[in-house]
């Protein structure tokens, strides 16, 4: 530690550059992670909020909520733990507002999803032509008692309440009645819903043409969800490997330059342990300071980032990413350790 600290102090520019690089890498990784997490949450917030464990869809729907329709017979009798939902994408329109793509979810008011819906203002839906909207609609200029049209319905809908975290597949949810869903879909006498959501992880059904999936199976089939996550994982993984290589290369070069000095110390009887300790603590110090500044920048970003940007800052996940980077750096720091251990003191005797 003594040697490492002294060196950082003397070689300010060199250490500064190295730290700056780690700051940039860690900042990038932190931001990407937050973005990935934010997007994932906007995909799944609603499903998670419902407390869904199992979701029953039409077995020919390819696990896709949008493609699933269930008839009254397929739905059968539901227990307290199940709720029938109808899902369709809509465009909300109102004079003076931009058009807004949203997801309409029709609910039955006595079932658990409607019952458990937490409102951030207003009241629950009581009539057709009333809706409860995700509070991101507030940002789009809507407020309680605003009126809007869904698709090309003649009838106007009134926003009677707002709720938080009502996001499915990155679009805001507008909750209404299941009958409204039927009319939006023009299916008055056909299917009665899209899916059965159950909070019972053992939920089963014997109805023909209905298949029960786990929450995660349905989430993974949300359009773009898996591709998006894979992309982020890949980017983060690559950045981790790149940071490993960069840190390893830099530490290697730094250490190589010091080998003659280290050889002299070995001649003088300074144990290899001390030199290895200096090398490792140097990489730990560099990476920790880099990570700390990177985390600080991320925190600042989290504060100034507008709410519309889908970013979620989760300390546990960012902490894990930080630890991952630290491990990478330690691995990178181990490479020059080999050359430190192999330093030949005899090489500096002679001339």
């Amino acid at each position: 530690m003594f040697l490492a600290l002294k060196e950082l102090k003397k070689e300010k520019l060199r250490s500064g550059l190295m730290i700056a690089m780690i700051v940039l890498i860690s900042y990038l990784i932190f931001i990407l992670t937050s973005l990935a997490l934010g997007l994932a949450r906007e995909n799944t917030a609603a499903i998670n909020q419902w407390g869904a464990q199992r979701i029953a869809l039409n077995s020919t729907a390819n696990t896709d909520l949008r493609q699933s329709f269930l008839t009254q017979q397929q739905v059968g009798k539901l227990s307290q733990k199940e709720a029938l939902i109808g899902e369709t994408s809509v465009v909300a329109k109102a004079s003076g507002h931009k058009q807004l793509s949203a997801t309409f979810i029709g609910l039955k008011s006595h079932q658990f999803i409607a019952q458990n819906l937490k409102l951030a203002g207003g009241r629950p839906v009581r009539h057709a032509y009333e809706v409860v909207a995700d509070d991101s609609l507030k940002r789009a200029g809507y407020h309680l008692n605003s009126q809007l049209k869904l698709n090309d319905t003649a009838q106007k809908f009134t926003i009677v309440g707002f709720t938080k975290n009502a996001k499915l597949n990155i679009s805001p949810i507008i909750y209404g009645q299941l009958t409204t869903w039927q009319s939006l879909r023009n299916m008055v006498n056909g299917p009665v819903g899209s899916a059965i959501v159950s909070k019972d992880s053992h939920y089963k059904t014997t109805q023909k043409g209905v298949k029960v999936y786990s929450k995660q199976q349905v989430i993974n089939k949300l359009p773009g969800y898996t591709a998006q996550n894979m992309t982020f994982m890949l980017m983060i993984g690559f950045l981790m490997v790149i940071s490993l290589i960069i840190i390893a290369v830099f530490l290697y070069i730094l250490t190589m330059q010091k080998l003659p000095n280290y050889a002299v110390l070995r001649v003088q009887g300074i144990p290899s342990k001390v030199l290895v300790g200096a090398t490792i603590s140097q990489s730990v110090l560099l990476v920790l300071s880099g990570l700390a500044i990177g985390a600080l920048l991320t925190a600042i970003t989290a504060i100034i980032m507008p709410a519309a940007v889908p970013m979620a800052f989760d300390l546990t996940i960012l902490g894990a990413v930080g630890v991952g980077l630290l491990i990478m750096a330690l691995l990178g720091g181990l490479i020059p350790v080999r050359s430190v251990l192999n330093v030949d003191p005899i090489s500096v005797i002679g001339g």
């Binding site: 003594f2 002294k6 070689e11 000095n261 003088q268 009887g269 003191p345 002679g350």
Partner: protein, 224 residues
Amino acid sequence: MNAFEMKHVNQTFGTGSAEVQVLHDVNFSAQPGTLSLIMGPSGSGKSTFLTIAGGLLTPTSGTVTVNGTDYHDRSKKERDALRLDEIGFILQTYHLLPYLTVADQLKLVTKVKPTGNLEPEALKQVLATLGIQDLLHKYPGELSGGQQQRVAIARALYPDPAIILADEPTAALDGERVKVVAQLLKTLAVQHQKAVVVVTHDARLVEAADQLYHMQDGVLTKAS
């Protein structure tokens, strides 16, 4: 008692037809309070001799004892410790750590070897003798070559070793400087009761020597 002793040391490098014998039956001893000078032309085996003397290389055959203990009986770690405690190396190229101030170069020793180093008073004395007492907060890069060498000497003396091994300590110095260093090495031997062994091909050091040896093709002979 001899501070340092070599008996029947042979050193060969390589095997088969590439085998070269660099040291031939070398016998050598050094007593505290004396300056031994080993002179020899380039390639005669002087550095090899020092490497073996410092326990950095185990000779092909023969024994090396420092303060009565054989290197053979020591682990690598113990030999490191022995070098730290008992042997002060002064190298031809002084290679001070560039990012440590003079004071920190000495502090590094304390970190590794907390006890048995020179007392502050004695250290002050050494620094004053070397004329570097005002350079303690300078980095090696801010010192002249001669100053750096004197720092390296102070660094070698600080752990209070019984033996000083010096490899060509005057190779890069001019006549005036050579006299100063020769005087210093002599002082070390006499005043501090060290066994000082200097390996060189610099004839200007002969005057200061108590014992003079010649090394020729790996054969060490004592001059009268």
